[in-house]
């Protein structure tokens, strides 16, 4: 849906939503360009979602295929659930970037290319025998706009006194200026942002501003564009927003917990892609009551957190697949001691080291079942970058309320992707109460029994420093009252069942699932975690096409929401799309005998695409 208005010598087309992908060499500053453009879209009141796609190498050789770095943003006047399927516009800064990304561009889409980078050397590095820009097929399939940004940047900076290397570094601002023009963005905020960013290096501030303006002017003056576009404000709820990645949101959530409770939040962690940013970001929240500890490995990461939890801290640990594997034994200890702890697992491509920089949802069964012995724990999964904030708070709330470790699953796509986060007012935040036992609880106040439970089966939490409540916890099976070692068989059976029942009781804090769409119908899409956006998008599209398709999203995987079994049975078919080989589908079969979901499994390191999913659903409807 688009409408035409006129602006200056160019028409301005109004569009509902646009997906743009910036791609270039690792050194081309594409992440910055993408982020800056995203901010402009946010300030313009669009809803949006982004997805950066880094190369696995830190800094690959210039011009190489594997050194291409990309940033995709989807912004719109309507609700945006994902960073978009195929981009409408591809901004490619060199041949390698073109080669690796062209196939994704929508047929008829705009292809803005830095023609200056299409030198013989670069073409060869990208494996092009001939210059693709001279290929007629390209112009037939796409709206090709070749611009020699290298030269135009040089021209803009002639006499600036910068070295040619420094000049070359500015060219991403040319592309950014051009895109500002194309999407009718006001340039002042960007100019201010440049001043802020380069406050300490005014010569670079001036240079980048000049190049940015040159790019903008080029749009206006050159004859290559016939129209501009405008994406109207979306109907986002009123409020103040900021853009957050999932990892930042997770960190922010934990820091918020520290503020809400006035207690220390302790993160024991070890760096691992794509979870490292949680540790990094939290180390900036010291003034809010966050203590971070970079341990020698993942085992010590969670170990330090359990130690801190014993001491009364609100403890958490963050990692990704291989690290979660290493924490397995420790998680069992947290289960049997019944200490509160949040384990964040930012899933990535597996198995083993796998594809660290790519996303996947293949740790679900491990999260649910990957511990020896009977060691159940609550598991929840964030559904979007901003939801990581709410999930972190919720996980910590459950952990402390129920005295249990909680596993929070996110993934590389959520962790690195971003979206607008509506800053909550203080009373929108959950009430968090953390209370320690301070007096004996047994034999008329003569004794402390660390495993004496309340009616919800929760044990008390007494911390060192509390006189009279000295006690011991440990990994051996324990007496159901005193916590002392017990090898009694029936005590063990009772403890196993009690721990399991306690976790089942958590269901009282798990909201029922809401069905998006009619309460019954032909097909129910069931998703969990990071595929929320794509599946919701697909559901909307299918509903728009008049299909009797609804959508249920699971934030809680254990316990499963009370009403889920019933909801599933109201549909002729249940369809589970996942970025794995069918883990939720298997789990649902095991949990709801009779339910046998259809599956769609994409395991190519990327989020599921709405279009692809719609197609698959149509096939089986």
């Amino acid at each position: 849906m688009s409408t035409q208005v006129s602006a200056g010598k160019h028409t301005v087309e109004q569009v509902e939503a646009v997906t743009i992908r910036f791609v270039g060499d690792s050194g081309d500053g594409m992440q910055l360009t993408g982020t800056e453009f995203t901010r402009a879209s946010a300030l313009a009141g669009n809803d949006l979602a982004t997805f950066p796609d880094y190369p696995a190498e830190i800094r690959a050789p210039a011009g190489s295929l594997y050194g291409v770095s990309g940033y995709q943003v989807n912004f719109g006047a309507r609700e945006i659930h994902t960073p978009g399927d195929a981009p409408d516009v591809l901004v490619a800064m060199n041949p390698a970037a073109l080669k690796t990304n062209l196939a994704d561009l929508k047929p008829g889409g705009m292809l803005l290319v830095n023609a200056g980078a299409f030198t013989a050397a670069n073409l060869e590095k990208a494996g092009y025998k001939t210059n693709p820009l001279e290929d007629a097929a390209l112009t037939q399939t796409y709206k090709l706009v070749p611009v020699d940004m290298n030269k135009l940047t040089e021209t803009a900076l002639a006499g600036s006194g910068l070295s040619s290397k420094e000049v070359a570094r500015c060219k991403n601002y040319f592309a950014l200026g051009l895109m500002y023009w194309l999407y009718s963005r006001p340039i002042e905020p960007q100019l201010e942002a440049i001043q802020r960013k380069f406050a300490k290096k005014p010569e670079f501030a001036a240079a980048n501003a000049a190049v940015f303006k040159a790019g903008h002017a080029y749009g206006e003056t050159s004859e290559v564009f016939y129209q501009r576009y405008q994406v109207p404000k979306s109907k986002l709820a009123a409020g103040t927003y900021r853009s957050v990645t999932g990892n930042f949101a997770t960190a922010l959530g934990f820091a918020t917990v520290a503020r809400l409770t006035g207690r220390q939040v302790f993160l024991g962690s070890y760096p691992i892609t794509p979870a490292t940013e949680i540790l990094q970001e939290m180390s900036y929240f010291k003034e809010h009551g966050v203590v971070t500890y970079q341990a020698e490995d993942e085992i010590a990461g969670i170990g330090s957190a359990i130690g801190a939890a014993f001491g009364g801290a609100l403890a958490c640990t963050s990692t990704s697949g291989p690290g979660l594997a290493l924490k397995t034994e420790m998680m069992g200890l947290a289960v049997i001691t019944e200490l509160p702890l949040v384990i964040v697992n930012v899933q990535r491509g597996g198995p083993s080291t796998g594809m660290p920089t790519k996303t996947e949802q293949a740790d679900l069964l491990m999260a649910l079942f990957g511990r020896h012995g009977e060691a159940p724990m609550p598991v929840l999964a964030a559904q979007s970058p901003a939801d990581c904030f709410w999930s972190a708070i919720e996980a910590m709330k459950i952990a402390t309320k129920w005295m249990t470790p909680v596993l929070l699953l996110t993934d590389g796509y959520l962790g690195n992707g971003s979206e607008p986060f509506k800053i909550p007012s203080l009373d929108e935040l959950p009430k968090l109460q953390v209370k320690y036992q301070t007096v004996p609880n047994y034999a008329d106040g003569a004794q402390y029994m660390p495993y004496l439970r309340d009616d919800k089966l929760v044990r008390p939490w007494a911390v060192p420093g509390t006189p009279g409540l000295e006690h011991r916890v440990g990994g051996l099976e324990k007496d159901s009252l005193s916590g002392m070692v017990s090898y009694d068989g029936m005590n063990h059976e009772r403890m196993v069942k009690t721990r399991a029942q306690k976790i089942r009781n958590v269901v009282e804090d798990v909201p029922d699932v809401e069905t998006f769409g009619p309460a019954s119908g032909d097909l129910l899409l069931v998703s969990w975690g990071g595929t929320f956006g794509a599946v919701r998008g697909a559901a909307e599209e299918l509903q728009a096409r008049g299909k009797a398709v609804s959508h249920v999203h699971l934030r809680w995987l254990n316990p499963l929401p009370k009403n889920l079994g019933e909801v599933l049975k109201r549909f002729k078919k249940v369809f589970v799309p996942e970025v794995n080989d069918g883990q939720l589908a298997f789990y649902l079969r095991g949990k709801f005998p009779g339910v046998d979901p259809l599956q769609f499994n994409r395991i190519n390191g990327k989020p599921i695409k709405i279009g692809e999913l719609v197609g698959k659903v149509l096939e089986v409807l």
Binding site: Q264, A295, D297, A308, P467
Partner: protein
């Protein structure tokens, strides 16, 4: 008030040994060296000047690691090898607590070697008691990283092909600021070492030679047997010359030519007391401590007990909280609102 809201500022009660007994009967084998160790620890604690509820004992898995269950303090009996990781987190989180680690040679040095060296390196104020019986006790007699080369055990029936660790040397290599050694049967000596360990601020290793009468009986007879003891044991005492032997006439001299330590006899070959190396655990340079730690590996040399090194350096938890307090001081007006609304924002509606 502690960081977790518990009141820790009331007066210190007068304790006796009994106050540190949990009332649970220890379940070690009859004759196990662990009994005398716990005995000494429970005797030493009343004088340490820390309230019972502010002391935490953390152990791994092994016979030795049952220790916390028998102490009337806060305690954790954790996972094999991992005790230092819990202790590190707890100490960083709540530096006002006194945290002890109890571990065995397998627990600390086989599976737990990494946490061991990192705890030593970081100089966290953790007091580690390593019960070294040179065998895996709890699993009934397998080779440990301190078992001797060639040792026959259940898993090395034809002898072990592995060289052992020397725990004090390893700790010094990792950067420990306090390293000591004592023996289960030397009660008074152990008491002194425990006192010094309690007083030290920083990473603390106390190796305790411990007899396991069931799976490695007599491992330390070469030191504890009355007949050989005097010549086999070198008692290091701060500020005193390193002498040993029945009549105290043998001594350790540093030979600057060979750059090695040697055993000499006072009164022979012109050796006087002045030639004998004076023990100084406070030397910042760990070289002499390292040399003494390796002494027992050399044939003909005695085995030193006592404190090898005792040097005060800012601890990791002190530095951590300096940084945190610094960050807080820089942002005195930090608040939840500011936290949430930080960074670039925009408003809609």
């Amino acid at each position: 008030m502690s960081t977790n809201g518990q009141n820790v500022n009331t007066a210190l009660p007068t304790y006796t040994k009994k106050d540190f007994e949990s009332g649970v009967d220890p379940r070690w084998c009859p004759g196990c060296g662990d009994y005398s160790i716990i005995n000494q620890v429970q005797r030493a604690l009343p004088a340490v000047g820390v309230k019972r509820e502010n002391i935490v004992f953390i152990s791994g898995i092994g016979c030795s690691s049952r220790f916390p269950y028998y102490m009337n303090n806060y305690g954790m009996h954790t996972l094999h090898g991992r005790a230092p990781s819990f202790a590190s987190g707890l100490k960083v989180s709540r530096p006002e607590l006194q945290v002890w680690i109890v571990t065995g040679d397998g627990d600390a040095l086989a599976i737990g070697g990494n946490h061991f060296i990192h705890a030593m390196r970081r100089n966290l104020d953790l007091k580690m008691l390593l019960f070294n019986n040179r065998i895996y006790g709890l699993t009934k007699g397998q080779v440990s990283p301190t078992s001797e080369l060639g040792k026959k055990t259940k898993t090395t029936p034809h002898g072990s092909p592995d060289y052992p660790f020397n725990p004090p040397a390893l700790a010094l290599g990792a950067g420990a600021t306090f390293v000591a050694r004592t023996i289960d049967v030397e009660g008074a000596h152990m008491g002194g070492v425990l006192k010094a360990a309690a007083e030290h601020k920083g990473s603390t290793l106390v190796e305790v030679f411990q007899n396991c009468p069931v799976f490695n009986d007599g491992a330390y007879e070469f030191l504890t047997d009355k007949a050989v003891k005097a010549d086999a044991l070198l008692r290091m005492e701060q500020g005193k010359p390193l002498v040993f032997g029945k009549d105290g006439k043998k001594g350790i001299r540093f030979n600057p030519q060979s750059a090695e330590l040697e055993v000499v006899t006072i009164g022979e070959n012109g050796v006087t007391e002045k030639d004998i190396l004076v023990h100084d655990a406070k030397r910042e340079d760990p070289t002499i401590a390292f040399m003494l730690a390796n002494l027992s590996m050399k044939p003909g040399f005695p085995t030193p007990i006592g404190v090898f090194r005792d040097v005060r350096m800012p601890t990791c938890e002190e530095l951590t909280w300096q940084i945190i307090d610094g960050a807080k001081a820089k942002k005195p007006d930090a608040s939840l609102e500011k936290l949430l609304a930080g960074g670039d924002t925009w408003t809609i509606g």
